[in-house]
Amino acid sequence: MNALYSVLVVLALVLAGLAGGRVEAGRAVLTLAVPYAALAIFLVGFFARVLRWAWVPVPFHIPTTCGQQKALAWIKPSKVDNPSSRWGVFARMAAEILLFRSLFRNNRARMAEKRLILGESKYLWLGALAFHWALLLIQLRHLRLFIEPVPAWIDGLERLDSFFQVGAPQIYLSDVIVLAALAYLLYRRFRDPAVRFISLFTDYFALFLLLGVAVSGVLMRYFVRVDILSVKQFALSLAAFHPIDPSTLNPLFLAHLLLVCTLAAYFPFSKLMHMGGVFLSPTRNLANDSRRRRHVNPWNYPVKKHTYAEWEEEFRDKLKAAGIPLEADDAGNARTN
């Protein structure tokens, strides 16, 4: 049901883009109000969310340990998976952000012939890694539409991405990879009943929205080709705050634009915020030195204490009379048995 609702919402957005592209007022809203509003919501929302996290107190180091802790000199520590230094933390964060180390550790339990079998499960890691890197490449490639003259490194990325020179326009590897990865990530949610049970509307919506963006982009490049000159002209005019008359823009492009704007505006309120949140994971970005270094709770207040020694001193006579053994003798020295 969640999947169906999210498909319907994405389809409604596509139809709104296509229909809006055919009337003048719709074009004006889609090309002026929507992109600027979406960018503003994205930036302000992103900042507000991360700053809210920045004010959450993290009094103690609580790293989840995934390797041997630094201990005695003759025990080899796991410097990256259980870091004790800042550089170790840096390496672990880099591995997490660039290579998805945690997902690589994913495993799977299943029953076979009444025996529990634990095994590695790398498909989620592979799908996620392929999707994120392809998406990054696609976003960097899109800069060719926003920057004039096009920097040489973006041309280089474009040549690298169309390395195999298949067809015209040449097929981008990142387009193929992003579609395949999104299809797998969606299939994964449908395949396993347990995963399907815990999948919410937002899980499907993010996937279908990204699929919508990718499919409309692929359609625009390979099938219903749009005039790229007017698209770049429009993108540059947006960046220069001098928006042009959008009458030459294809409705399919406006649908693509509306989907992207929806994604940007939805971003700060959704699980997609893991983009910023991954940097603030306390179990990843803190060194496991809680035994070697004393971490004092910064908002500790003086607690009124009444120790056992003081309590024994207070009731010394009564305890003695009752024949209860005491820990300290009359002079206050601890008794050694």
């Binding site: 994205f42 930036l43 992103f46 900042f47 991360v50 700053l51 996290w53 920045a54 004010w55 107190p57 993290v58 800069l143 060719r144 539409l145 926003f146 920057i147 004039e148 003259p149 096009v150 973006i154 041309d155 474009e158 040549r159 169309s162 020179q165 067809g167 015209a168 326009p169 040449q170 080709r225 749009v226 005039d227 790229i228 000159l229 770049k232 002209q233 993108a235 540059l236 005019s237 960046a239 220069a240 705050f241 001098h242 042009i244 910023g276 940097f279 603030l280 910064p298």
Partner: protein, 137 residues
Amino acid sequence: MRDRIWIIAGLALFAVVVTAPFWSERTPAKDLTKVPNLVLPVNQKDCVAPVSYMRASHMVLLLRWREEAVRQGQRRYVAFDGKVYDKSLTKTCLGCHNKEQFCDRCHTYAGVSGPYCWNCHNQPQTNVAGISPRSMP
């Protein structure tokens, strides 16, 4: 608490990167919306297909021509208006258009550096003199 400065620095860097298109322009704002100044042929009024089709899909036509001319030996192309052309990049397209003043200008502008036309073809030298500048409408 001590890390707040790093979080804020990271956010500032993120904002700088995200808004790159807004501040990185090296061209004056009034020139940004100009399309490339293309030099159109003076000796011909019509192309092998309508302008709107050629703008968006010329690469498809070229690829089909290559397939049919090089691999199937069919060189006769009947255009949308009934005129007959030779399926040839060098003779037909470059007979009117100039690579540097026509193809490259849009390709550089749109960042389409890919096409491998020029691995085999080059600009014939004969017709360059016959072209005079005329801006695209």
